[in-house]
Symmetry: D2
C-alpha cells in the first residue's frame, strides 16, 4: 500500500454483468489494469463476469480492488479483490457502489448495470459506457451517455471526469 | 382502513420525476385513483411531480398512499400521503420502493425513474411504462419494456402482473 | 383514514423481542391500543412477540400500524399491520424504524431491542423503556434511560416527547 | 498488498466514540497495530477519536484499514485509512460495519458504540469490550459481554473468535 491515504485516491467503479462475452471480459480486465497503473482504486460488485475480470486486471497489476457484495457473506466473492465487504443490501448495493466512486465505467448490458448507470447520472457521477446500454426518453431525443471505443479511452475519460 | 390486512393487499409503486409535464401529472393522478378503486396500496418516493400527483389521486379516492422519502425528515414530503416514512437512504430508497411492491408503473423519464425501472427488471418486479424510457442494449436489439397507452391499461397490466 | 395527512401524524415505534413473556405481550397490546386512541401511527419490526402484540392492539382499536420487515418478502409479517413494507435490509431495518419515528417505546430485552434503544439515543429520538435494558458505561455511572411503570405512562411520555 | 486475497483475510471492526479519552485512544492505536501485525483488516466508522486512532495504529504498522463513513463524501474521513467508503447511510452504517466483520472490539462508550455491540450480539458476531458498556436486562441478571483487560487480550480474543 503506497503512502497516499485512502481519502486522497481516486475511486472508479467498473460495473457490468455477471455473465459476459469474451470481448466484455477482455475489456474489463484491461480497464482494471489501466486503472491500477494510474493509481485508482477499482470498486466492483464482487461477483463474476465483468466484476471479476476488472478486479483481476487491477490486482494482477498491483492495484487495489474493493468488492461490495450484495449478500451478507464473503463466500460469494470472486477471488480477485484486495478487500471484500459483504453489504447484505441486495440490489441496493448498486447505489452504494455509485455513491462510493468518482466515476463509473459500464461494460456490457444487464439490468443491474443499467440501474447503476441511471443512479450515477441521477447523482452526477460521471459515467462512460463500453458497449453498454443506449437509452432514450419516451418521445424521441437520444440521451447523452458518454461512450468510449476502447478500454484506454474509457479510463482516460473516467479519470479526467474524476478530477485526477 | 378496511378489514383486509396489510400483508394481503397489493402494492404498486408509481414512479416518475419530481418535475413533470401536465400530461404526466394527469396520468399519474388517474393511475393513483384507479389503484385506490382497486384496493391497491400506492407507494411513491414522496416528493413532488408524478409522486405527488399519484398519491393525491389515490388518497382523494379514499385509498392508501405510502411515501418512502430519500431524506431523513418528513418535512420534505408532499401533503397527499397517508403514511410518510423518511428513509434517509438517499437514492438507495429507489431500491426500497421497488422491493416493497408487486408491480411498478413508470410515468415520464428522469434518471431516477430509469434506475427504478432497471432495478425492477433486475429483481423480476413487473414494470409498465407510460411515456417513459426506451432502452436498448449496446448493439441493436430493442428490449421488451411493457408500454401502456392509458392510465387504465397501465393499472390493468400492473394488477394482473401483481397477481390480483 | 382520517383527514389528517401522513406528514402531520405522530409516529411511535414499539420495539421488543419476537419471543416475549405474557406480561410483555400484554403491555405491548395496551401500548398499541393507547397510541391508536391518541391518533399516532405505530411502527414495528413486523415480526412476532412484542411487535405483533403492539400492531394488533393498535389496529384492533382502529389505528394504523406499519410493519418494516427485515426480510425481502411480506410473507414473514404478522397479520396485524395496516401496511407491510419488506425492506430486505436485515438488522439495518432497526435503524430505519428509529429514523422513521418521533419516539420509541421499548418493551422487553432482546439484543435487537437494545440496538434500537442505542440508535435512538444516538440520534436524539426520545426512548422510554418498559422493563427493558439497563445500561452502564464502562466505569460506574448509570445512564439515564427513561423508564415507565405502565403502558399509559409510556405512551404519555412518548407523545409528550414527540411534541404532540 | 500481500498475496492473500481479500476474501481469505480476517476482518475486525474497532468501534468507539469520536471523542475519547487518552487511555481509549492509546488502546485503540495498540489494537490497530496488533491487528495489522496479525494480518487482519481493520474496519472503522472512519471518523475521529477511537476510529482514527485504530486506523492510524493499523496503517502505521503496514496494515490495511477500511473506513465506512456515515456520510456521502470522503471529505469527512480521518486521514489514516487505506480505503475510504462513504456509505451515505447515516447511523445505518453501524450495521454495515458489523455485517462486514468476523469480530468486533469495542473501546469506550458512546451510544453509537452500544448500537454496534447490540447489533453484533444480535447477529452472532463475537464482541469484546475494552472499558465499554455494561448492560443488564430489565430485571436482574447480568449479561455476558466479554471484557478484555488489555489491547493484546482483546485482539487475541477477537482473532480466536473469528477463527484465525
Amino acid at each position: 500500500v503506497p503512502s497516499q491515504t485512502g481519502g486522497e485516491r481516486r475511486y472508479v467503479a467498473v460495473v457490468g454483468p455477471g455473465e459476459a462475452t469474451e470481448t466484455e471480459l477482455s475489456l474489463a480486465a484491461e480497464v482494471g489494469r489501466l486503472l491500477a497503473e494510474r493509481g485508482a482504486v477499482v470498486i466492483t460488485g464482487g461477483l463474476g463476469g465483468v466484476m471479476a475480470a476488472a478486479a483481476r486486471g487491477c490486482t494482477d497489476a498491483g492495484g487495489i480492488a474493493v468488492a461490495l457484495l450484495p449478500g451478507g457473506t464473503r463466500a460469494e466473492a470472486h477471488p480477485h479483490s484486495s478487500i471484500v465487504i459483504p453489504t447484505g443490501l441486495g440490489e441496493l448495493r448498486n447505489g452504494l457502489i455509485v455513491r462510493a466512486v468518482d466515476a463509473v465505467i459500464a461494460i456490457g448490458g444487464s439490468w443491474g448495470t443499467l440501474s447503476e448507470i441511471a443512479l450515477a447520472r441521477r447523482t452526477n457521477v460521471p459515467v462512460t459506457c463500453l458497449g453498454s446500454w443506449q437509452v432514450t426518453r419516451g418521445s424521441a431525443e437520444p440521451v447523452d451517455l458518454v461512450r468510449a471505443d476502447s478500454a484506454a479511452d474509457a479510463v482516460e475519460f473516467a479519470l479526467a471526469a474524476a478530477g485526477s
